[in-house]
């Protein structure tokens, strides 16, 4: 695991359910350090837990890259989950609530998308899947430059 001094940037391996716990703890700590409120922290940690579990269960393990981002004075946290698993053949189907390829509830991907501000998924059958999510600090006007 690599971590930088700011306590926010990190790359965390996801290979066991113990790693899911570290992912949740790190994301909570990073979000708190950036100043996210309790509800926003909880949403982001929950989204991270869903996505990390997808990486583990469907992608056969992978990596989380966690980094602070800023845009026009707004600050946020970006999480990138990457795996080299089988990939997703039908993205629309995978994002639909209730669709499950395993034994879950089928809320993981679609649910996680609702818990964050930005959500991007890149998946190619045979090469793997990368999911990138970003949440911005509430309160500060997002697109504006001033302050």
């Amino acid at each position: 695991m690599k971590r930088t001094a700011d306590g926010i940037s990190a790359s965390l391996p996801i290979h066991s359910d113990l790693d899911l716990v570290w992912v949740r703890q790190h994301v909570r700590q990073a979000a708190a350090q950036l100043g996210f409120g309790l509800v926003e922290q909880t949403k982001l940690v929950t989204a991270a837990s869903e996505l990390a579990r997808n990486t583990l269960v469907h992608g056969g393990g992978g990596l989380l890259e966690c980094a602070p981002v800023s845009r026009g004075g707004a600050r946020g946290l970006r999480l990138t989950f990457g795996d080299e698993g089988p990939g997703i053949t039908d993205l629309d189907q995978a994002l639909r609530d209730g669709y499950t390829s395993g034994e879950g509830l089928g809320m993981g991907l679609g649910g996680a998308r609702r818990l964050v501000h930005e959500f991007a998924i890149d998946s190619r059958p045979g090469t793997g899947t990368t999911v990138t999510v970003t949440s911005w600090m509430p309160g500060a006007p997002r697109p504006r430059e001033e302050r």
Partner: protein, 146 residues
């Protein structure tokens, strides 16, 4: 593989042991604290069902006040526990869920219909007390004045 990781943060280590199931009369009390392993949650599910079956408990209270996040996995486990105990003639009440957790669960799309809830373990006990006699009690349950 990652079992050998040292705890990288100051917080409490993830709880990999078993969650104790306490018995208070006819009620089993389970208090979840901190961040639960998937495996721990699954073992708890089995422990509760086994304990209900051999103790004849009529109620189960799961205290979530110490839990910071409930994702779809833990949500499913809670729903399954409620369904299993119901088949074993016991009611399950989830107590003390944090507001941020409730907000997140709804947004996640997991409203867990059928799960009974209470704001505190005390309320949960009262709820179970009030609903316990689902069958008419035999014998002189309540005596009228002499």
């Amino acid at each position: 593989m990652s079992g050998a990781f040292p705890a990288p943060y100051g917080g409490p280590p993830p709880y990999a042991g078993d969650v104790p199931v306490l018995r208070l009369g006819d009620v089993l009390l389970v208090s979840l604290q901190g961040d639960l392993h998937d495996g721990t949650a699954e073992r708890l599910q089995q422990d509760i069902s086994a304990t209900v079956a051999h103790s004849g408990a009529t109620g189960v209270i799961i205290d979530l006040s110490g839990v910071e996040i409930v994702d779809s996995f833990l949500g499913r486990v809670l729903g399954d526990i409620a369904a299993q105990t119901s088949l074993l003639a016991a009611g399950t009440v989830v107590a003390g869920m944090r507001p941020a957790v409730a907000i997140t669960l709804v947004e996640l799309g997991l409203t867990l219909p059928g799960l009974r809830t209470a704001l505190s373990t005390e309320d949960a006990l009262r709820l179970l007390d009030g609903s316990a006699p689902s069958l008419p009690r035999r014998g002189p349950a309540r005596r009228e004045g002499p």
